[in-house]
Amino acid sequence: MCVWKKLFCWVLLPLLASCVTPFEPEVLNEPVTILVVNGYINSGGVTTITLSRTRNLAVQEPYQPETQASLAIEDDAGTRWPLQEGAPGTYVSESLQLPAGQQYHLRIQTQSGRRYASEFVPLKPAPPIDSLSGRIEADGLQFYLSAHDDVGRTQYYRWEYAETWEFTSGAWSRLEKQIGDTLLPRTDDIYHCWRTENSTAVYTATTVPLSRDAVLDYRLLLIPPTSSRLRFKYSLLVRQFALTEAEFQYWEALKKNSQNIGGLFDPLPSQLTGNVHSETNTTEPVLGYVGAGTVAEKRIFIDNNSLPPTWSLRNEGYEGCMLLDTIFKKDASFNLALFFSDPNLRLPVGPVTDRAGNLLGYTYQTTACVDCRLRGTNSKPSFWP
């Protein structure tokens, strides 16, 4: 049980001079490339499916997308809705309104001619999210979610979320190097940016043991009081899915497999595959679970001025950018064209003048400290107020 390990780590191990050290098992030489299917059949909109391959643990390169496959949604009567490849390995459908009462599955044929299919699943429409709120607690900002289904048909819930927050870089650059050695006022803002991150953990809940099909105050994420995400304005978008029992168990197992594994009080990891099977070779493993249904969304905003003033919010990632360096005109090596020749190395921040207003030189910082676009985007998201 995972609680036992938690107990173990928190209560006992500090007493026992224990230590947790990174462990890297001997690298397995044989490459393991198994097809991975991600996505769900959206019965009320665009269905997006991505195909990729697994890679060995020690390999650092990105996942190989499975390109040029042909995909289609199919119902139990044989009606087909094809998907088209957009980005490599990403396949999208048109905006669909799939009839209820049918069962659906996904069919895949890869470029090499191997055929795969997911199991037929019923459509599970997601009920709306009743409330989503962030509450100030001693250890940070805790988000809670509530939802219910009066008919009692949902029972199994899963959530994903996307966080978006506004942030600034380490120094506000007002100057920009133009042709030659002139520095002119900067036209674009590379100081204010927005960053979006998707949830990585699996959030699931079931109301089966409860007397009502209602999720009350489900704990979603916790943002610590020092987090830079809360410096200005923060937004959380939650997507709610309704699952079948089998799909719920898949996600529970995935959660167990990736969150608490291998400890003495943890469950044994399982060779989790999902509901996609190879039709060409039945022993070939395929990873992924393709469910079907609608999704319910809700977004909230948290403004910094609603948070306790005692929270010391750091500007994470820009800790070393507090001080600016200066290049002086009087220096023998003063050559702006050469000095700012590589925009990926350093950028000018502002002029340095004496009391009389005579230009003495320019302040500058590394590009990583100045250009917020390296960590986000400087175009304001459409949903941002």
Binding site: W4, L7, F8, W10, T54, V202, R219, L268, Q271, P285
Partner: protein, 927 residues
Amino acid sequence: MPQFYRIVILFIFCSGLLWPCYGQQPTGGVVSGTYTRVPFAEFIRQLETQTSYHFYYDPAETDSLTITATLPAQPLAQALEQALQGTHLQFVLDAAEKRVFIVGSPAVLATLPDSFFQPPTAEQTAKEPTANPAERSTGRVASVSTSELKLYEIGPAGGALASGKATVAGHVREQASGEPVIGATVYVEALNTGTSTDQYGYYSLTLPVGRHELRVRGIGIKNTRRQLVLRGNGKLDIETEEDIIPLKEVVIEAEKDKNVSGMQMGLEKLDIKTMRQVPTAFGETDILRVVLTLPGVKSVGEGNTGLNVRGGTADQNLILFNDAVIYNPSHLFGFFSAFNPDILQGVELYKSAIPAKYGGRLSSVLDITTRDGNKKKFAGSGGIGPLTSRLTLEGPLVKDKSAFILSGRSSYSDWLLHLLPGKTFQESSASFYDLAAHISHSFSDKNTLYVTGYRSADKFQLASDTAYRYHNQSASLKWRHSFSNKLYGVFTGTLSQYAYNITSERDPATASRLTYDIGQYNVLADFSYFPNAQHTVDFGISSLLYNIAPGSLKPFGAESLVKPNVLPQEQALESAIYASDRFDITPRLSVSMGLRYSLYNALGPHDVYHYRPGSSKSTTTITDTVRYTSGQVLATYHGPEYRFSTRYTLTDHSSVKLSYNRTRQYIHLLSNTVSVSPTDIWKLSDYHIRPQVGNQVSAGYYHNLKANTIETSVEVYYKATRDFVDYKGGATLLLNRHLETDVVNAVGKAYGVEVLVRKLTGKLNGWVSYTYSRALVKVDEGPVADRVNGGSYYPSNFDKPHDLTLIGNYRFSRRVSTSLNLTYSTGRPITLPLATYYSGGAERVYYSERNAYRVPDYYRADFALNLEGNHKVRKLAHSSWTLGVYNLTGRDNPFSVYFKTVNGQIKGYKLAVFAHPIPSITYNFRF
């Protein structure tokens, strides 16, 4: 040794009170017989059997003499006169004291014979005059110095069997405390006949009538002997003097050559003194931790007391505390065993050749016994360590008849937690305690009653969130009755309970309490019968009622939305009869044959689901539900359990042994974690879940070196088990009304060789053991998806092929001793991640086949230094200090290896529990 504390030895005559007498009645001095060239000593022996007279003579003077005479029935004086005609011997008859002195000429000796003060050997029968008769009538001898030389009459004259043999039986007790001396050897050297005392200190020995010298030997007691004349069946209780050197630690040990001559194989005995010497993590003497150093015993990891004996799972061990079953023998996740060392006498672990008396578990029997308490005077002992303190009190209730012993131990670890920085620790708590009490009372020589009570409890609370509590409690009542010298019975009633609950209060809407409870009620009648010196017969009957509340989830607090979910009770009855006979066919060859037949009934009320035949059991394949009413039998399983072992002695110092045994187990521990956790559940066999069955064959070669001071042994074994429970991936075990849908039956096989070299005496003692063993599991039932690793054998979680242990103790002086413990083993198997992929917004892991890889090897060295106070016998309190260092080299042995998604990336971690040397200091005292 100073004379003043030489201990008085007590003899009790029991003149065959309840014994029917065979043969002729004592004739009041009338003797008869026909003798042709009978050696003189034999002649006198025969006369002694016919009369109540004692004969005194000088063997040196008579050893070449034979008697030829035909004696009609006539008074003793006339008969002697006739028989001694023609010899140089004369006799003096003392009718008042019933003594006859036979001397050569002259009739009155001026000096005593040379051998008078020598300890007589078995061949000699020279005898000093009996001590004063008043002493004899009370059956007590005041002085120990003469008691070894004194002659004791056993049984009524002529009370022998037709075979000319009679049985002497009694207890060997320690003089100072009155506690039984277990495993002491009682033997007659001249006849090459002997026995050892059982767990009650009881012995029974069948000997030819006549003069014998009975020798008593055991470790922790002084060797002693008794001169006796056996006339008929009778009793002889022997009090032995404590060997004062080991300071009260009663050493319980079998005969010195037990390794070679004992019937048992796969039996490990440990006494508390040995256990105290083994260094442990917190200076706490821990029996389970010491048991883990024995060959053939493994556990999945450090800080875990789940025992895996010869490839068996942790639930296949019958753990008995004074005959009552203990379901969870550990405290604090298994870091401590739940028994206070001060109350313990010793522990026996049966790995193979499990006696027919024991049943119900597949792999082993761990029999933990307490001391009986001091019957003579009030005493106490205790200890103060970094995590716990303990206290034991003992003393007589009625002097020499009954004694009590009480012990308690409690942790005070909360303060340590609260010292740590961070809110989590300050709001957390972890504590445990255990209590044990034992009372023994001897109503008479034939009836003794034992009562034991035990309770251990643990409590954890994690950051004021979830609270865990669990407790064990047990009680046993045992009445031991001697029907005769050859038959005794033990009638036992026990009850055991294990329960836990988990209370979660963090969110008012989901606040709940989960509870689990198992209780068992057991009655047993065990009999031991000694028909003659060649046979030892044990038989008995037992019945056991299980009662399990398999889980209930109830709302906690008024705001809770949790729907109560209470699983129906489960109950079952397990009964067994058994008989076994140990037959010494020749002095070299002994055979022990046993048969146990067990019968199991799962009882209603219960709802049994029926599933569509041929398909995997799941909620979707239920076809019918059958309701069984209260007491109705819903499933019956039964079968024989064979227990066979044999020993053949090759030489005086070597033997070979063979054993085969079958065991059946009707209760299963369900745990889908690698190690045993306190919240695992015990499940009874039912309509769907079959009992586990195990078969084991083993063979061994045993050789003792250097006058039995060094024992060596090699044992090989092969074990096959079937129908033990394994799980489908992602099985739900808690609050599951149809567990059969989540479990699969597994088949196991285990084999190995165990080599042990042990030296238990001398300044340098200890043992080295090496084990090569494999433990494999196979799940090939049901649909392909349920099969683990495609249905082929895979290593179990505790499959560690190589295992080397050294326990070494060196005594520099009586007051200073050191211990060193070295352990090496192969790393345990682990399931490794093979590949990663992106799914659900994060990197995920694809795992290898189950247990296809191993964690790094395990190595550890521990050291302890024991400092004793001075050894004055009379002082207020005896104290000792134990200084220890656990994991001397600071090796970070992986306790576990796990993989975790951290910030969307898979990271492997190795967790070492004791990654640094851990010093400890413990103060022990007794008074």
